[in-house]
């Protein structure tokens, strides 16, 4: 029978089918961070349960850590307790933990692939919805809640229902200054934030085959914003090149065997999908989100929607509400939106290619006067060092950006990096919900190139101006 890539990985990991049509699925890798794990470890302790396989687990602190002045430790007492709790739990259970001053530390979804922890064909979970990122390496990866974190720690398995298969096929190539971030924002705008609910999305087509692994991570990352727990891309030469030689990748003796298996990781040519969408990459222009849901996105040379032109009552009301929250007017030009802050970072866009992209726009330019703060937060210690070796940090600093230590930072503002009420930010992150980057803060989701451009101009602008 013809199978999709998702079918193949699912079948390979299915231990049993349960009476309620869910399945017992084996989990190969488990990534753990400080925010969604303390209650899980606590639960195990109370029930006196052991970990099933400690070597399948890697832990890191990223959500709740300062991005400057690491030497003096974490000042905020409550944050410190949370990070210390993770350190303690890892010690007690003999789990690999990447400390704040370790070059391997970074955002959990950046370091997984980077260190070779994520590999093709694996099942990988983490108590974080952007676990979908890892699907770029042909792995089945999805976010789970804390109860499931506890369940996987204790049993190495999860009971979960199989999702439907969705294929998003993207033909042709992206134009200059149009990035994978613009592509995924465009797709979410078209299919909606619940368009992928209940599905695993496989991204395919010429555009995806030509895309770097980092670009694929950006699109798989935001599958969750399209409602899908997992995004996935087939294994190919690019995947192989990316994997080989990384810290935790399969070593020489067994690599050949692994590659043989990895080469089967693609959908069969006659596999059928429950839902399919087709897009043409060459028609896509840079995107800017204007509202409080990622689907509220427009082209850079577009206008803010006018609710009076919308018939659907729910839609109309949510647009009115978003316009009010974002302090924007119907039909306003995107290029007229003035900004206060710029954030380049997050598990969507904090890898080396993202930083190169932004730096190439910034080179030799200064940020505009109205920009109160422009931050670059590399995704990991390795990304940071690499960028410094390439001199990107200098470009950022000379233009007026602050160059920080790795972490989630202003993507969710759990640490000190956040928006003050009513501040407006161009952000390379993935969520523009009310209050996401700080209470009453206003977020516009964009690519790293657009964030850099907006920093220079002080407002959004197309690249041709």
């Amino acid at each position: 029978m013809a199978d999709t890539l998702y079918d193949k990985i699912w079948d390979e990991h299915q231990i049993a089918i349960n009476s309620d049509d869910s399945s017992l699925i084996y989990i190969d890798r488990h990534l753990v961070h400080e925010v969604t794990s303390p209650q899980a470890f606590e639960g195990l302790k109370i029930e006196k349960r052991d970990l099933w396989n400690k070597s399948s687990i890697y832990a890191v602190s990223d959500h709740n850590v300062p991005t400057n002045d690491r030497e003096s430790g974490i000042e905020d007492k409550i944050s410190k307790l949370q990070v210390d709790t993770l350190i303690e739990n890892c010690k007690e259970n003999d789990i690999t933990y990447f400390d704040l001053n370790d070059i391997n530390q970074g955002i959990v979804h950046v370091i997984g692939p980077e260190l070779g922890i994520t590999q093709p064909g694996m099942t990988l979970v983490c108590g974080d919805s952007h676990t979908s990122t890892h699907g770029a390496l042909a792995a089945l990866a999805f976010g789970i809640g804390t109860s499931d974190v506890e369940h996987v720690l204790a049993t190495q398995c999860i009971n979960v229902k199989k999702a439907k298969n969705m294929r998003i096929n993207i033909k042709n190539k992206l134009n200059q200054f149009v990035t994978p971030k613009d592509l995924i924002l465009y797709i979410i705008k078209k299919i909606g934030t619940s368009g992928g609910t209940g599905h695993t999305i496989e991204f395919s087509g010429e555009c995806v085959s030509n895309m770097s692994i980092e670009g694929r991570m950006t699109i798989c990352n935001m599958s969750i914003e399209a409602g899908a727990k997992s995004g996935i891309v087939a294994f190919d030469d690019k995947t192989l090149d990316y994997i080989v030689g990384r810290k935790h990748s399969p070593k020489k003796l067994i690599l050949d065997k692994a590659i043989k298996y990895w080469e089967t990781l693609h959908s069969d040519s006659d596999a059928s999908f429950d839902t399919s969408f087709d897009f043409d990459a060459s028609l896509i222009t840079p995107q800017v989100s204007w509202g409080t849901s990622p689907e509220m996105t427009v082209d850079i040379d577009g206008k803010i929607p006018d609710p009076s032109a919308i018939n659907d009552v729910d839609k109309k009301e949510s647009i009115i509400r978003a316009l009010e929250y974002m302090d924007l007017k119907p039909n306003q030009k995107v290029s007229s939106i003035m900004l206060d802050k710029v954030f380049i970072g997050s598990c969507t866009n904090s890898r080396i290619e993202d930083l190169r992209q932004a730096a190439s726009v910034l080179k030799g330019k200064k940020i505009a006067k109205n920009i109160k703060l422009a931050l670059v937060v590399p995704g990991s210690g390795h990304v940071k060092v690499q960028a410094e070796n390439e001199g990107l940090d200098k470009i950022f600093k000379e233009s007026g950006f602050e160059w920080r230590e790795p972490g989630c930072s202003m993507c969710l503002g759990m640490n000190d990096d956040s928006l003050s009420p009513y501040e407006r930010c161009a952000s390379t992150s993935n969520r523009n919900f009310e209050g996401r980057q700080g209470d009453k803060g206003r977020t516009h989701l964009v690519s790293p190139a657009m964030a850099a451009m907006a920093a220079v101009k002080g407002h959004f602008s197309s690249f041709s101006d």
Binding site: Y26, I78, I144, S194, K247, G435
Partner: protein, 213 residues
């Protein structure tokens, strides 16, 4: 099977895409406990000032928000529009709902991870058609006091004005809501099966189990 009926005041939240950031804002995720989140439910909509874990008491409630209005402040069932619980996987959102006293949520659709987290914590999610939801909203606009009874076994909702709605619920979720299983204990009963699978894979894909540097 044990009988279970959930009854109480309904809280209307006529909005789509209620995200978990709204249900529980990030500053409260710093807690390492599972309880005590109820007072922070919908925090940024409920209060005029921002709170933190160690400073939340003296704040002015936002009277326009339903949870600050009688009789909704004592509600136990939420009714809301499409895609409830989207966004982050934070189970803290479900802990906050539960701690506040919410036992069931009615909507046209729920986000995937949120659904799993809810069932695991004994919150019953009921998916209904758009016309049923609209009908309930319109009935509620006529009377603030709106108490319904949800019969979990019979999969049926009854309420004022002859409201009578059937809903779907699979047997496994039904049992989970009624009995509240210890999932880990159930899975550990299949230990042998898991070990057998693991041994097979150690031969087939040895690189997965040999991940030391």
């Amino acid at each position: 099977m044990k009988e279970k009926v959930i009854s109480g005041q309904v809280i209307p939240i006529n909005q789509s895409n209620i995200d978990t950031d709204a249900i529980i804002p990030k500053q409260y995720l710093k807690s390492i406990n599972k309880t005590g989140f109820g007072k922070f439910l919908f925090d940024s909509l409920r209060y005029k000032q921002t709170g933190t874990l160690d400073n939340y008491k003296d704040r002015e409630p936002n009277k326009d928000f339903v949870l600050n209005q009688d009789p909704y402040d004592k509600g136990t069932i939420i009714i809301a529009n499409d895609n409830f619980g989207c966004g982050s996987s934070r189970e803290h959102a479900v802990w906050a709902l539960k701690d506040f006293g919410i036992q069931s949520i009615i909507s046209t659709s729920f986000a995937d991870i949120f659904s799993r987290n809810s069932v695991k914590n004994g919150i019953l999610l009921i998916t209904v058609d758009k016309n049923v939801l609209d009908d309930m909203f319109s009935r509620m606009s006529k009377s603030k006091v709106f108490i319904i009874s949800i019969d979990v076994n019979k999969q049926n909702i009854v309420g004022p004005d002859n409201l009578n709605v059937d809903f779907n619920l699979n047997d496994a979720d039904k049992e989970r809501i009624i009995y509240g299983y210890d999932d880990i204990a159930l899975t550990l009963k299949r230990r042998e099966k898991i070990i057998e699978y693991e041994n097979k894979m150690k031969k087939k894909k040895p690189w997965l189990f040999d991940n030391e540097e």
